[in-house]
């Protein structure tokens, strides 16, 4: 089966935006790729990992985004082209290194792909990573089409080498997690003569900083000149439009559709920018000088909008009076993701042109008929998920303890314990590792009358990513809390990538498996390990740890992710409900299985007044048999 490394040049292939970026990197002759997974960026390095051997490149899942960028930078310094990818939160983690790198500069081409998540479809926050380009003096590219994902990635390496700095390439969910046809180009082999040579003292440092900072600004002047002629910036429309749309990234397709939907091709022009920082000033001024109204279409923050206004402000006479519409004017929302409808509505409001996307009678009928059921499908733990079982025990242990204990959390599948399928147990969720970091604070409030037990919940991959420093800080400062590691042996939320605890690398090679319990023991901590499917034992160990006051203690709740296991094995049990024993509403359990435990494999048959198993969804974990107080849920072992 052909893959992203072996596609025939000249053929058209259906590629996910992230796969296009991976192919572009291969066409640029990269040798090194690193990342920590994060939606919607994970498939870039994941795709390269799958073809690493065929392509003769090195690919790693690093422990976090900062290490990924540091490792890729080393490759660049040694003359090997390198790519690193991360989501917007990840960029924050890497930022400390990146700010200095902007001043230090690079050697072989180095491209940092950052994928933002407008609407926070798979994120705990909504953040625009583009201001970092301005802040750290780095060139910024924003692909708009699937072909551009590939072609601009390839070009980004040339740009990086021309400027001797990191090139940022920004994607968003709708460019990264969408697929389209892409024409494949020739790929290049990587440089196989890596060597680190610092010919000039301090060459690979940001020192002396004021000097290097000045050089970084000079690089931006050079980038501006290059961008004036970039084939990824273009204008389409009448020479003297009534209104000019300036757009980038995903906004380009939406703008085209808005113009088409309103039939205003003859009066509205579109300036599409692929290189958005530094702005190609001459090109932009030339277009702004011909219009009086400008609509800026972009995702998340008014970054492009602000830069355009800054440019006009520098020399207002060169452009003349221009009225800007966009996020600041309220025509495009300041939060959430944009789409063709939002852009069409904005355009119709500005032009005073009626737009009715759906026939009014149909819309009314649809509202009446589909309004029968308005509950959204909340995301939650999968059928058979070990996290649901762990949080069941957390809930019971905290209840038995009775002192108002609570759980701090961070980012991973277990973040869903903020909601009903984790019984609302998680109370905080900020950044990677912040469960343990916050527990350091809560756990040192004893002198202020604070008496509540604190449990800090983190996943296995998160333990390595950012929990370890917080854990050591807590031990050193004698914070009083219980660390709960929900170890499901995968970076499950982002697509089951391996991590330092799994014993395998991104390229499928065996690796030393770092044992989380052993790391904690080596730090001098009391550590218990439990199987979350054993509810009784997990609850007992957790309660005992909670009450073992003073210092940090650890429970590792260890059970493989149900989705990973299901790829390999049949379900452990066949589940059924004994209808004679399930007495429903008259039981006194108040339907604990479906109302409280809420596994999607369990359904409540209101007509018959009994619980049932949905055979299509049930993963056969058997845990609900222990939740049912009436013994009505029966598990029968499957032959392995």
């Amino acid at each position: 089966m052909a893959n992203v490394a072996t596609f025939e040049p000249g053929t058209a292939q259906l590629l996910m935006g992230n796969e296009g970026i991976a192919r572009g990197a291969l066409e640029a002759g990269i040798g090194f790729a690193a990342a920590y997974p994060g939606t919607p960026s994970s498939e870039i390095i994941g795709t390269l990992a799958e073809v690493a051997k065929e392509a003769g490149i090195y690919v790693e899942w690093s422990v976090n985004e900062k290490v990924a960028l540091e490792a890729a930078t080393a490759a660049s310094f040694a003359g090997v082209r390198a790519i690193v990818a991360m989501k917007q939160n990840g960029l924050n983690v890497a930022l400390d290194f990146l700010m200095g790198l902007g001043m230090t500069g690079t050697n072989a081409g180095l491209v940092l792909v950052t994928c933002d998540d407008p609407g926070a479809l798979s994120s705990t926050e909504e953040e625009d990573s583009r201001p970092v380009a301005k802040w750290a003096c780095l060139p910024l590219l924003e692909p708009a089409t699937f072909q551009e994902e590939k072609d601009m990635t390839k070009w980004a390496f040339e740009l990086s080498e021309a400027l001797k700095t990191v090139c940022l390439l920004r994607g968003v969910t709708r460019t990264s997690h969408a697929r389209g046809d892409v024409r494949i180009g020739e790929s290049l082999p990587p440089n196989r003569e890596a060597k680190f040579e610092a010919a000039v003292p301090l060459q690979y440092t940001s020192l002396p900083a004021p000097l290097k900072h000045g050089l970084a600004h000079q690089k931006m002047d050079r980038a501006r000149e290059i961008f004036e002629d970039s084939p990824f910036n273009w204008y389409e429309g009448p020479e003297e439009p009534e209104l000019l749309i300036v757009t980038c990234g995903s906004g380009w397709f939406y703008s085209l559709e808005a113009v088409e939907a309103l039939g205003v091709e003859k009066t509205v022009g579109i300036l599409k920018l692929g290189a958005t920082w530094p702005l190609p000033e001459k090109l932009v001024r030339r277009r702004l000088a011909r219009v009086e109204k400008v609509l800026v279409v972009e995702e998340i923050d008014p970054f492009l909008e602000g830069n355009l206004k800054e440019l006009v402000g520098e020399d207002p006479a060169a452009v003349g009076a221009v009225k800007f519409y966009g996020k600041r004017s309220g025509h495009i929302p300041l939060s959430g993701e944009i789409n063709p409808d939002i852009v069409t509505n904005a355009l119709s409001r500005i032009l005073g042109k009626e737009y009715e996307p759906v026939d009014a009678d149909y819309a009314q009928k649809a509202l009446g008929l589909t309004g029968l059921f308005t509950h959204p499908r909340m995301v939650g733990f999968c059928a058979g998920c070990p996290h649901r079982a762990t949080f069941w025990s957390v809930k019971n242990a905290l209840k038995m303890d009775g002192r108002g204990g609570f759980v701090t959390g961070d980012i991973g599948c277990y973040t869903m314990a903020l909601g009903p399928t984790g019984f609302w147990q998680l109370k905080t969720a900020q950044a990677m590792g912040s469960a343990a970091g916050m527990a350091c604070g809560f756990g040192n409030l004893g002198g202020f009358g604070f008496k509540q037990p604190v449990i800090a919940a983190c996943g296995d991959s998160t333990f390595f990513h950012a929990t370890i420093p917080a854990l050591i800080s807590g031990i050193y400062n004698r914070a009083n809390y219980t660390l709960l590691v929900l170890d499901n042996s995968a970076t499950a939320m982002t697509g089951f990538q391996p991590h330092p605890g799994t014993g395998v690398t991104a390229m499928g090679e065996p690796a030393p498996a770092i044992d989380i319990a052993a790391v904690c023991r080596a730090l001098g901590l009391r550590v218990e390990v439990a199987d979350p499917f054993d509810l009784k034992d997990t609850t007992k160990k957790l309660l005992d740890l909670i009450q073992d006051e003073g210092g940090v203690r650890v429970l590792v709740s260890r059970r493989e992710c149900a989705l990973v296991r299901a790829r390999r094995e049949k379900p452990a049990y066949r589940m059924r409900v004994d209808a004679a024993r399930c007495i429903g509403e008259s039981c006194g359990c108040a339907r604990i299985c479906t109302r409280v435990f809420q596994c999607p494999g369990l359904i409540w048959d209101a007509a018959d007044g009994v619980a049932k198993i949905d055979e299509v969804i049930c993963a056969g974990c058997g845990v609900c048999a222990d939740v049912c107080p009436g013994g009505a849920i029966i598990r029968e072992a499957n032959q392995p």
């Binding site: 919607p40 709708r174 008929l369 059921f373 479906t594």
Partner: protein
């Protein structure tokens, strides 16, 4: 409708039903045969029991963006009936063609007793009244009969092709299955596809 350009298809269902694979297989077959195809996907958190929707846009002329505008769906393929109904509220129009799996997946609000799932009659009625033509097919039952509920997505792919609304015939989609799936899974998937084909009539 066969000549409509772009042809806008929405494939909707619940995380874990194989929505992404289905749209990808259909898209790859179209690109292999010279069409432009774009697929916008909802992913990530939606894998965990949330609603999942793919927008598949097909064109002879040019590449379109990954999101279909309100009221602009030509075909709605529902892997889950409630989600098919909900998609119509936002993307439907009097000319839309609907093919939906009949088997519900109950949202947590239904299991918890906070809401009641609409009856099959209510859903079937809504789909009919909000479309030019609608089919409710028993894809999951067929898949269960074949021994693996996940095959429902390939049964539904067959049903989509069976409407005759896509610009390619069934044999080219079967070629794609052969190119994209593992050898040992091919026969059962071809059977599922053909059983889906037979479930609907020509809507062109």
């Amino acid at each position: 409708m066969k000549d409509k350009d772009p042809l806008n298809i929405i494939i909707t269902g619940v995380g874990g039903q194989g929505n992404v694979l289905l749209s990808q297989l259909a898209g790859k077959a179209l690109v292999r045969n010279g069409y432009h195809a774009t697929i916008g996907e909802t992913y990530g958190a939606s894998q965990r029991g949330g609603a999942v929707m793919s927008h598949l846009r097909v064109s002879r002329e040019k590449q379109y963006g990954p999101l279909i505008a309100q009221g602009q769906a030509d075909i709605v393929l529902g892997l889950e009936p409630l989600e098919a109904m909900r998609v119509l509220a936002q993307y439907g129009n009097p000319d839309v063609i609907v093919v939906s799996n009949s088997r519900p997946i109950f949202p947590p609000a239904v299991s918890s007793g906070d809401a009641e799932y609409p009856t099959p009659e209510q859903i079937g009625g809504a789909l009919k009244q909000l479309s030019r033509k609608a089919w409710l097919v028993d894809a999951t039952d067929i898949a269960l009969e074949m021994g693996a509920p996940i095959l429902a997505n390939i049964v539904m792919m067959g049903a989509l092709v069976g409407t005759g609304l896509l610009p390619l015939g069934p044999e080219l989609f079967e070629t794609e299955l052969a190119e994209s799936l593992k050898r040992d899974r091919l026969d059962i998937n071809i059977t599922a596809f053909r059983r889906g084909l037979a479930l609907v009539g020509d809507a062109a």
